[in-house]
Structures are given as C-alpha cells and as structure tokens.
Symmetry: C2
Subunit: 308 residues, 2 copies
C-alpha cells in the first residue's frame, strides 16, 4: 500500500539539560520517514533541502528503502535550520533561531511515480503547502493524516489550517495545541470540537503522559513508556506519526481497532526517539528492538478483570 | 478478610471554578471508607470527630456496612476543618484555612474487635499517629498501605515519615510528592529511590494522567478516564486508595496481578469521586455503576497485537 510523506527536512541544533548538538539532521519528514520505514514498504518522500544537506544521510534514507525521488535539492541554497533549548522539565522549550532558507518557497512537486498514493502523511509544515500537496494527488488517498503545531494556529495561518482540517481524516496534535485550537480546557471537549472541524479521527499526544485516540464514538488511550531519562524530545511527535501511518499503510487496514495498534507502534517508536539526540536512535533499530518495545507496552497496561 | 482504615474525618469547604460548598464532610478516612465499602465486607474505621459531626452521616456509614466502633466522638469539641480553593486547571489549590481541632491530639485507639486486622489502610494523617496505630495491632497485618502528602515531607515531620515508610508494604502518593520525597525529577528514578526507603510496592498517582504501580521488578500503568469535566478533585486520591485496598481485602490476594486489578478499581472509584463536590457521588453508587465504569477502563486501554 503506497505511503507518501510530505514535510520538512532540516538541520537542528538542540540544547537539553543533558548536552547540546551542532547541526544535526531533523525536520518533520526526516523523523516520519525513518519511523515509517520500519513498517511500510518503500515509502515515498516529498521535501526540500539545500545543497548543504549531507548526501550520506540521503543515501542512508535510500538504504532504508525510502524513495527520495521527491526530494528537491536546491543548488546554491541552504536547508531549513531550527535551533532550540529545552527547559529542565523537557516539556517546554525556547526557539533560539529559525532560518527558513529553502523552505520559504517550497513547492511540493509530486513525482508521477507517487500518484498511486493510498496513505498520505502531511507532516508539520505551512498549511497552504499541505493543501497544495494534497490537491496535486489525482486520486484522493484512502487515508490522509495531518500533523501540525501551535505556530499555525495564529491569525495569519489559521484560515489555511482550518481549510486543510476539512480535507483530512486524522489529525495528530498535542494537548496544548488541542486546547489552543479548540478554546476548550477539557481534552474531551476539545477533541469533540476539533472533530467537528473536519478530521473524523483525532490523536492527542500528551508527551510523557501518553496519547489519546478519539474515533467517532470510541476512545483509546496508550501510555508513554516510563523512561528513566528522556534525553531529547525533538521529533518524538513526528516519529509517533510515522509509526502510526507506517503500520496502517503496511497492514492496509484503517479500522479503529487497527488504528489502536498504530498508536502502540507509534508510541514504541517515539520511546526510542527520545533516548538519544535527534534521530540518532531511530537509525539503527532492528525489527526485534521494535517488537520487544511493543511487548513492554503490552506488559505495562495489560490486566484481566472478570466483569460480572 | 478484615480491613482496618485509619485516617481523618473532617469538614471541608471547597471552592472550584464550578462553584463552592459550605462545610461538607470530608477527610481521608471518609473517602477511603466510602470507596472501600463497595468491595470489602464490614470494614473497620478508626478516626476522631467533634460533636458537630452529623450523626446522620455516621448512620449512613453504618448503613454501608462500615464499622464505626473505632470512631471517637469528642463531646464539647469541634471536628477538623479544611478549606481550599482550586485554581482553574484544578491541578493546584490554595489552602484557605486549616483548623486541627480534635485532630491536634488524636490518639488512634484500636478496639479489641479490630485486632483481627489483615489489611491496614493508613490514610493521610500525621506520620507519628500512623506509627502509633500500626504499633497497636498485636499481629502485623498481611498488608499495610500508606497514603501521605507533601505537608509531611518537611523537616519537622520527615523523620517520622521515614520511620513509617520502613513499616509499610505499599505507599500511595502523587507525582509531585514522589519528586519531593526522592529529590528526583524522573518518575522512574524517584520510584526506585522511594522503594529503597521501605515500601516494596509504590503507587504514583498522576491525577488526570492516571497512575503507575511499581512492583519489585514490574511496572503497571492505568489511565484516568477522560472526563468531559472534573468538577472537584478533593478526595480523589483517598477514594483511589480505598478502592485499591478494598479490592485486595475482598479478594484476599496480594499478588502483583491482583494489585493491578486494585489499581483499576481504585481508578474507577476516583473517576466517580471527581464528578461532584466532596463525597456526594460516592454515596449513591450501585455495584452496576462500578462494574460499568470498570468496563470503560477495559475498553479504553484494550488492544490486540500479535508479537512475532
């Protein structure tokens, strides 16, 4: 089942209480692709980078089966750059620098070979670019999942965000973003309000407190794995989304029951992501690592009660 | 299996964003007893009140099968009174008034008929009084569960708290208290450190984010039910503890597997508690209400994945 992922590929410079990095590769599509590639067969990627983006990293993507035909490499230009510093609790961060560079006029060209797309993951990106990408698919995919962030919920971008919300099946955001978008403090009320904006299914990520999946009537909750240390949360949400849609695309099943499994796979992948800086931990995982982590989730929440 | 509960019975005046109450009944033992009585047969209570405590409420306890022989009623004195106001997020609160009254010199006398105690719940109370109660049991109970709070983690009371921690099997506290007691920010590190202080089993309550149960090696997580509105969180932690030990006492099984079920029953009871002011919602539950709520927990977290 063909999976297409659209998002950013970038350099990040990250500072956490545990250390700091020079420029390392990041961006929503980097995390989504590295995570989804553990599940989906030959996922297709659309993104833009400058000539400074390391060719060895692009080759690493290709070795993982990721199709980079849709990756635009702009000669003479620089890749998107973001720099941030996390506070001690790792739940909040300050943005130190944002240099759009090639992202400023990103035109998401879809290669012809990608037109068989059945599963579309719109990673965090300018909402108008997400809309353009979706409109360029000749056939509406079976499932469209959108990730976004608080930055696009301000006056300038909100009309576009609302437009794209009406075009997607699943939205993935965090709890603070859900509150901001809905104006409701109660997560349950926020979810119902956001579902009326378009997406029938809503994922609300709560970081170390797990994630909620709201269907039309059902609700499912998956915890985060209790980790001794969260080293660097950058990309955890994108990694989660990549595991989620990667599992759905690989199984070809978009039932609520299977989305629950997607949430567990996404949570497992995110739990790896935060163990090291950037995407480092995602690059060298084995299938056994992933299955073992999923077993830890099962052990964590499994109980048996006989209801009378 | 005989269950003994020691704690406070009090008047509370509560203000939340949704309204305020005059003096209503509260206190750790009130919530523990009302919750445990849905599971355990004729639980025994030790607490102290003044002559102002409503006799109709004591009769209500008795109608629920709670043995009040150990309830001291001090003529000419007033019951413990607490008043608090919750902030808008309901996760933090200010104490507006604390009048110890009869609690100032509470001597936890254990009636002879209570000496068959196999399950002891030491509800939130001065640690030295918890120690006295435990020492007055001629035979060490099969299981001792302790609940406490941040107030006892300051210099004055910490030595007593550390002493009682060495005497108990299970400790139930919230995440902020776990951080304060251990000096560790990571909940997993905090848990391991607190377990070395005495209790082999540790419950860390995270309010709307659920609860973690740490065994000697195992970890179990139960979510809180996603509620549209939390009306008043007062007593939720005590209600949780009452459901937990009530289930253990009723089943006579202190295995980790059965403690998981206890956590689910405790979470179900707590989810009722927060729906109305004070203990109001706990008073008129039916067994069917409880079983139905437990089924909602099962539906919320249940998933099936075939691990290769």
């Amino acid at each position: 089942m063909s999976l297409l992922m659209v998002g950013t590929m970038a350099f990040d410079a990250i500072e956490t209480p545990f250390g700091k990095t020079d420029k390392i590769i990041g961006g929503s599509c980097t995390y989504i692709a590295l995570s989804a590639a553990y599940f989906a067969d030959k996922p297709n990627l659309v993104a833009v980078v400058g000539e400074d983006f390391p060719s060895e990293d692009i080759k690493m993507f290709q070795r993982k089966g990721i199709n980079t035909e849709g990756l635009q490499i702009k000669q003479g230009e620089k890749s998107f750059f973001w720099s941030g510093k996390y506070h001690n609790d790792l739940n909040t961060r300050d943005t130190l620098a944002t240099e759009l560079n090639v992202l400023a006029d990103f035109d998401p060209v879809i290669p012809d070979a990608y037109q068989d797309c059945e599963y579309l993951m719109l990673g965090n990106l300018t909402p108008s670019v997400q809309i353009t990408a979706l409109k360029r698919l000749k056939k509406r995919p079976k499932l469209v999942v959108l990730d976004t962030m608080n930055f696009w919920m301000t006056d300038t971008f909100l009309p576009d965000l609302k437009e794209v919300l009406q075009m997607v099946d699943v939205l993935s955001i965090n709890d603070e973003e859900a509150r901001l978008l809905s104006g409701e403090y109660s997560i349950v009320k926020a979810a119902r309000k956001i579902q009326r904006m378009g997406p029938k299914v809503l994922i609300i990520k709560k970081g170390e407190h797990g994630a909620l999946l709201f269907g039309e009537k059902q609700v499912f909750f998956a915890p985060a794995l209790p980790l001794e240390d969260v080293f660097d949360p950058t990309g955890a949400g994108d990694t989660f989304a990549g595991g989620f849609i990667g599992h759905l695309a690989s199984s070809g099943d978009i039932s609520f029951e299977n989305m629950k499994r997607g949430i567990i796979y996404g949570s497992a992948m995110a739990s790896f992501c935060v163990e090291k800086f950037g995407a480092e931990r995602l690059i060298n995982l084995t299938a056994e690592d992933v299955e073992q982590r999923v077993q830890e989730f099962i052990d964590l929440v499994q109980f048996e009660i006989d209801i009378l």
